[in-house]
Assembly symmetry: C2
Homo-oligomer: 250 residues x 2
DNA sequence: CCAGGTTTAGACCATGCGGTCGAACCAAAC
DNA sequence: GTTTGGTTCGACCGCATGGTCTAAACCTGG
């Protein structure tokens, strides 16, 4: 933890330091980040920094903690999801969370990058602060899953930890994908995206018997008409290849 | 690319160098890896190394290329999947691929780690070798997706690139999860795992109308009996918490 | 106005990095 | 026997790193 002196610093200076650190750590990860660069960017002397923080790790964890706290504040509570009484309501509420989360990450991508840096630094796992942070995130996830299970929105046939891991992985992949192409994607496609993204989560997480009632465009009749309204490709990809595979003959 | 002299080295020495490099790069990523450590581990002098390779990046790309080639050889062809004529057959064949891939990664985790190191090194994206490697992997993925779409095993309503990204993300998360717990998991649960894992891929990738016929245990009737045979938790997770949430009242 | 603790500054340290370079080695050619 | 040229070696270079330390600047109570 930071020396108590740091907390007594004038707020703007504290912010300058934490912001510089957040950017550096988010960009390069813990190992790759340069303490010297942070010091330069923050406009503080080395002596002062080592007067505030024990070492690089101390600064890093303080930065993560601060960023997380700010993100959490922006995020608000999970009540809407926890209050759901049926599967549909649960996923609708999750959609809301999803939107909120997305806009937060969009506003401040360093939050996500910092989280990744935290998880990717094996040397830090011993630190108490680290454990506490991870436990907090894990607790949130468990709470959500438990609530979903209770209302039949989430399958019980998978280890919740595995399910969490998979959902996080999907989310990360989606984030990467979208961040990489947010400027090149058709705005219209972008608008319909949250529904489709959530649909992916539902597909992975819902109980098998509830899939047909929760998944977009799923019918009880196994073979629907080949051209469905919702079967429009998302982006420009189909412009290349669709001619050669007109319709499955089966 | 490596100086041609490297290829003329006696095979065992070449192997020693590439193995040392693969381990170091897999463990620390490109930036984190130490050329000096590799040199020490390989038992070669620095001068010799710089006689074989232009620089660190040259060694890295050569290592990746070599490892990938060896992995590809072990992996074999995609014919079984490309030859499928219906959705079920496609996914059955994918199951086979999945098993093969898993056993390869299990035997030699450095392959996966090297791939990650490659993707995580933004500075290398300009290199021609890098582009070629990525293009090769991307081509394989496109081929598979195209085949799946043709037989109705893969949805068309999502940009294939996005779908690939999500599936890769899921796979990565699963790998991480399993690698982390492979020793603590119940062997019985482990045995049934490939089916469940593939089921996750099917859920994400199949067309909506085919879900009920492809997903494990999906019924057309939305509300099945609460205790289904396949509704057994996968691992030890329930041993901790089940007492406080005995049964959903629904 | 000064004493004495608190805070700041930045030169300095050891270490490790990727990369260079001139010398040594050695087998084949003359 | 000497020269040549491909190969190997490791000391060395400049640089950046995380971290230390001393001396000056600053502030505040007496």
């Amino acid at each position: 933890m930071p020396r108590p002196r740091f907390d007594q610093l004038p707020a703007p200076k504290r912010r300058r330091i934490l912001d510089a650190a957040a950017e550096e750590f988010a960009q390069h990860g813990f190992d790759g980040a340069s303490y010297n660069r942070i010091i330069r960017a923050a406009g503080v002397s080395k002596g002062a920094m080592y007067y505030y923080f024990d070492d690089k790790q101390d600064l890093f964890l303080t930065t993560v903690e601060d960023t997380l706290a700010r993100g959490q504040e922006a995020f608000g509570s999970l009540d809407s999801v926890l209050a759901a009484t049926d599967a549909r309501g649960f996923w609708d509420a999750m959609q809301g969370l999803n939107r909120r989360a997305w806009s937060i990450f969009y506003d401040d991508p360093s939050l996500l990058a910092l989280g990744k840096a935290l998880l990717a630094s094996p040397g830090l796992t011993e630190s108490a602060t680290y454990r506490e942070l991870v436990a907090r995130l894990d607790g949130v996830m468990r709470e959500l899953v438990a609530a979903g299970v209770e209302v039949g929105a989430i399958r019980r046939d998978l280890d919740p930890a595995l399910l969490s891991a998979v959902l996080l992985g999907m989310g990360e992949a989606l984030d990467r994908f979208l961040i990489a192409r947010v400027d090149t994607l058709d705005p219209a496609a972008l608008a319909g995206l949250p529904e489709r993204v959530l649909d992916l989560f539902v597909r992975a997480a819902a109980p098998a018997h509830a899939l047909s009632s929760l998944v977009l465009g799923a019918r009880d009749e196994p073979r629907a008409a080949p051209s469905d309204v919702s079967d429009q490709p998302l982006a420009d990809a189909p412009a290349e290849a669709p001619a050669e595979a007109p319709a499955p003959e089966e």
